[in-house]
């Protein structure tokens, strides 16, 4: 027999920009050998709306609505870093009650976003029922958001110096009821997802991201905590009233898709714990600080961040003393996290690419801005 080897070609497969599992419009150009990914290249920008440029031509209060549309799953959490950047630049002290309200809504919003993300992880593994159950609970949450802000997703509720409106009557008891309801539902998700053997077989050991590599790439959020790095801005650099609240930073050391799922799942319980404390702690008082009619922060650069469901969401604000920002930059966690995807999926099969991408759970509105 002569020394002849069979040469097989690789094929190029475009996953996206329209694909059921790309969480929006994202394109992953993969090079496949059979079904194994040899090489991949993320292509971004299909939802690039130029928010940073738009913001340069708007006054500070006009910019807030654009933040709701960044990571549309967690509007409250997106508004916060911007208003807090302006507040810190102007030296405004936010009243205690407003701080508590902000944290309450942010944690409720975190639950809503995590519900979507864990549900989507089930959906991408073809377990549609888990997604439906998660969205069912989210519907109750959206009702709470409507009661507070008047909108289901794009809230525009936070203001420089406080919040737009107080909680409606009976809101806290509704939150209380919801939390009890959600606690009963958590085992349901567990039985559909992490206790299911196929789910475990599909996610355990898949999409490994080593902690040192994650730090090198600037990853954050559940992606980092799923790699065993205990980094949570709420704990490391407490903003608002997080230093008065007790909670645990969830980490899992397995570095795989399953660990990232479990981080999200456990963080829902931690958020519930935080909300329970807030419910008993909300003080009386104002919801707005004294803020000038026209917001003109003094000159200077500032960076303010928040622990968003995806990771560290930051706002860099450069003011030149006028009523419009000189430059505003959004540090998007999805943007940095997507950089880790090509390294994570190398050598995996196409279905694992989907499972891994679902566990990174980027929101393209935020990655592309």
């Amino acid at each position: 027999m002569s020394e002849q080897t069979i040469c097989t070609d690789t094929i190029k497969l475009n996953i996206g920009p329209h694909h059921p599992a790309t969480h929006g419009v994202f394109r992953l150009e993969t090079e496949l050998d059979g079904e194994v990914v040899v090489n991949s290249r993320p292509i971004l920008g299909y939802l690039h709306r130029g928010i940073e440029k738009i913001a340069e031509n708007l006054t500070y209060n006009q910019i807030i609505p654009y933040f709701d549309r960044l990571d549309y799953l967690s509007g409250f959490l997106n508004e916060y870093p911007f208003v807090s950047a302006v507040e810190r630049l102007m030296g405004i002290e936010v009243p205690k009650k407003a701080q508590y309200l902000r944290v309450l809504m942010m944690e409720l919003n975190r639950i809503a976003a995590h519900l979507v993300n864990i549900g989507a992880q089930g959906l991408d593994l073809a377990s549609m029922t888990s997604m439906v159950y998660c969205m069912r609970e989210r519907e109750y949450l959206l009702e709470l958001f409507v009661a507070v802000s008047g909108s289901r997703m794009t809230f525009n509720w936070m203001r420089v110096g406080g919040v737009k409106s107080d909680l409606p009557e009976g809101f806290l008891s509704r939150v209380d009821r919801f939390i009890h309801y959600l606690k009963d539902r958590m085992p349901e998700y567990a039985s559909l997802m992490q206790d299911n053997e196929i789910f475990q077989a599909r996610t355990k050991g898949i999409g490994i991201l080593r902690p040192d590599h994650a730090l090198e790439l600037g990853c954050s959020g559940p992606l980092l905590r799923g790699s065993g790095v205990a980094r949570d801005i709420r704990m490391d650099e407490p903003y608002e009233v997080y230093d008065e609240l007790e909670f645990k930073v969830i980490t899992h050391d397995e570095c795989d898709s399953f660990a990232r799922y479990m981080v999200r799942y456990d963080e829902i319980s931690q958020s519930i714990r935080i909300i329970e404390q807030i419910l008993s702690k909300i003080p009386d008082g104002d919801i707005m600080a004294k803020v000038p009619k026209v917001i003109k922060p003094p000159e200077g650069d500032i960076y303010s961040r928040v622990e968003a469901p995806i990771g560290e969401l930051g706002v860099y604000l450069s003011s030149d003393g006028k009523n419009k920002p000189h430059r505003m930059k959004i540090r998007a966690p999805s943007f940095s996290n997507i950089r880790a995807v090509p390294d994570m999926i190398k050598g995996l099969q196409v279905p694992d690419v989907i499972a891994t991408f679902a566990s990174v759970a980027p929101t393209m509105g935020e990655a592309d801005r």
Partner: protein, 178 residues
């Protein structure tokens, strides 16, 4: 880039052919037309096409509380098997070409719902350098649903309007898209 998109959209003529829709037809053919239009209106399968915020309102519309499966529509991931394209979210200039491609891949009786302010007109991003100012610059739109994002109820209203439109234009049986 932008101009090309505008021209692409204008190629599509949306006028109804008067010869077809004169309303004079035999009793039998009219009934058949009614039946086909009835089938189409009651089985609107949307494409899983979503770009931005409206996507989640769209997903919620198919979830337990609103459950558009009642109306007989469920998502198909491939454009070949779809009837209606719900453009949920901002269409950027980079996304315009794929959007047009997806629309072209849908076989003939096809309809487009522009969901949300962005898809209708560009919405809050109308001043942006990278956003198409309304998806109708790229593909023809049948029903516009305003809102930012529209609630699922609004989407349902849009769907019923589309059903009405299908019944009203039953004589041309989807030939309005050439």
């Amino acid at each position: 880039m932008g101009k090309g998109i505008v021209e692409m959209g204008l190629k599509e003529s949306r006028t109804l052919d008067p010869a077809i829709s004169d309303g004079k037809g035999s009793v039998f053919l009219t009934s058949v037309d009614w039946l086909i239009a009835w089938g189409r209106k009651n089985s609107l399968w949307p494409l899983t096409f979503a770009t931005a915020c409206c996507a989640f309102e769209m997903i919620h519309a198919w979830m337990p509380r609103y459950d558009f499966d009642r109306l007989g529509s469920f998502f198909r991931p491939t454009p070949r098997q779809c009837d209606v394209m719900i453009v949920a979210g901002t269409i950027t200039k980079k996304m315009a070409e794929p959007t047009r491609l997806l629309y072209d891949q849908i076989p003939h009786p096809k309809w487009v719902l522009a969901m949300g302010a962005c898809a209708c007109s560009g919405g809050p991003f109308i001043d942006s350098y990278s956003v198409v100012k309304g998806v109708d610059k790229v593909i023809p739109v049948d029903v516009y649903i305003p809102g930012c994002p529209p609630r699922p109820e609004a989407l349902q209203f849009g769907m019923t309007q589309l059903q009405k439109k299908i019944m009203a234009t039953k004589r041309n049986l989807g030939r309005n898209h050439v």
